[in-house]
Amino acid sequence: MSDPVLRLEGIVKTFPGVRALDGVSFSVMPGEVHALMGENGAGKSTLMKVLGGIHQPNEGHIFMGDEKAVMAGPLEAKAKGIVFIHQELSLAEELSVAENIYLGELPRKSFGRVDWSTLEENTNTILKKLNVGFDATTRVGDLSIANQQMVEIARALTVDAKAVIFDEPTASLTDAEKSVLFDVIADLKADGVGIIYISHRMEEIFKITDRISVLRDGQYQGTVNTRDSNEESVTQMMIGRKLDLSRNASHHELGDVALEVRGLSCGKLYSDISFEVRRGEVVGFYGLVGAGRTEIAETLFGLRDPSGGQILLNGEEVRISSPADAIARGISLVPEDRKGQGLVLGMNCRDNMTLPQVDDLKAGPFVAEGAEIAIFDQYRDRLDIRTPGWKQQVGNLSGGNQQKIVIGKWLSMHPNVLIVDEPTRGIDVGSKSEIHKLLRELAAQGYAVMVISSEMPEVLHVSDRTVAMYSGQIMRTFTSDEVTEDNLIQAISGIKSGQAA
């Protein structure tokens, strides 16, 4: 067997107060597709930054072939043949495809001129290999997200790569585009390039990878052969213990219908959406990213104007034109992007928590800070938020505690309808199960809860009923007796019940 193209030995990276990587060692063989798995926050992205020369490890070494490699910066990593396909696109939209592919390495002529003909020629050669439907002079901003991803991949092919790292490359690709990507990976593999493939999608991992390495809380958990492994055992390596994800239908009586939606539509985003949520009920919304779930939540919260249909709260038709409107009518939304939409990171815990009701907490002309602190204390205790005190800046808390602040913020509004979008994205296992438990408790207390999630076990675990969405439409609504993983997957893939072969 040949030498590994890339070998990590005991990599340790610490940040003030955190040991982000704690002794990570594994190796990538030439022609191997090596999956790197772990929950969000497990240290994958830190490890990639160490590999890419953006961070320097405190301990441990990187070897390329036999040689110890020190990545002083992104350039050096690239020069050594390590190439990244980033999850977040790093393209300049105003420039052409060719200019993006050769960013930083535009071919020169005299007087510092760009050698356009060489540039286009080289680019078209690569694009032909990728079999894409655009050419070198297209402006990148005019391409679809998937095609922009292909530009990123094309960029990787310009270098004499020894190791290529794919970071969640399929997140925005269609099936057809995915198969092109997998062909590219197969080609690289055949050329003896080592590939690190980071993804959360088990299906892909088991389809294309040879070995799987797992990180948890910055620690290396081991490497297994994909062939000898299965989803369950990998999941267990990732989370360390089993999450309780048993089914959880309500045993209490359901109350009145709190929210009813009839034939709601919003341009091309979704159409003809009808469902209802009763008090004491958790309704889960499951579907692929882009199926229209978040957009429905945003419409209910007054952030988008529907193009048709009705929204009824407690049986009464309402028009919700702004979040302030929605809040006044007792709708709360825990948004999907915690840092971008949920929190003002530079503000303290208390101020974040009471932000939606700051107008109502009054002591004369001022905000009643005593009442605010009381609210904060109440929800800190109830949700077990770990923070040194209310003065702590929210940006300094862990993901799980941040999410609890957001949830506390909306619970303290005592909503009629609580909408929770991706409640456990990117938080640790412990907080995850606490939040699951909380959602069930809220239902038991008579709240009407809508949960949007992209994690099937989570939806199955917390929901009384599950709405399956595909491409802006509701395919089917399942009761907890009816739903199985199989029929749910079929529904969100656009296969209508009864049509399935």
Binding site: P323, A326, G342, V344, L355, P356, V367
Partner: protein, 324 residues
Amino acid sequence: MATLTKQQIGSVLAKQGILIAFVVFIIAFTIANPRFLSPDNILSVVRSSAILGVMALGVTFVVISGNLDLSVGSMMSFSTIVVLDLHDKIGPAMAIPVMFAMTIALGALIGFLVGYLKLNSLIVTLGMLSAIHGLTLTYSGGQNMDIADKEGTWFSVFGQGTAMGIPVPILIFVALAALLGLVLSKTAFGRKVYAVGGNGTAATFSGIRRARTVFLCYIMSATCVATAGLIQASRSLGSQNTVGQGLELEVLAAVILGGASLLGGSGTIFKTVIGVLILGFIQNGLLLMGLQFYVQFIVTWVIIILAVWLDIAAKRGKLWSPIA
């Protein structure tokens, strides 16, 4: 442990750096010239800083909300000219409220453009700088404005009067600073200003009407400008129509010196007052040391950059920028 202490020192320096610099300046100037800290001198510094200070209070709101206001200088010229003109036409008692209304209307226009139409505040207020300048010149017919009867008007009280031995401009500055300090730190509106500047999207997702908040910040700013114009007009009882030219930058310098981030979400009225005083005392201290006025320009330049640099250096934990 050693690194931790170093960090702690760093964070203290970053948080209180501007206060520390202020104290160092005062000590240095006092050693150089003992008269520097005499009550008379302090009073004269504060008085000459009052107009700038009053304007900086309003701009603080705008900056914390994540926007800029470069139009305050020409807006101040406008309100000064208007109130002087109206003084003789409709009498001071009417002139003052009418001038406030007109200035606030300009502020409302900017607030509408930046808040409700979501236009880039740098360009909008740059355009308004020019437009209001033109408006003022048109209004005044290109002439300087003077009050006919300079001796017999009570109008001079805002700029020249004293109460309890303290000049009225100082009283106005201090009272307004106290009032706006409370508004910013203690009221729901103030909280919303921080939220909108800190993360506008999250503020919207929390039901805060972002456009209205920004709009009100510009109203605040215009009100402060009108007050500054009133003091200016009352102090001189006659004025060139370019009296406020360039003040927008000094005001911004004071606010930045106070440590407000141009990205929004941080800063306080107290810090802005410190920023204003630093500018005022440096100007005064350098003059007392017998240095030419232009040295103050150069010193201000160095101080602004040092203040912002140290602030972001403390945040990123590195003195030098990491970009290659």
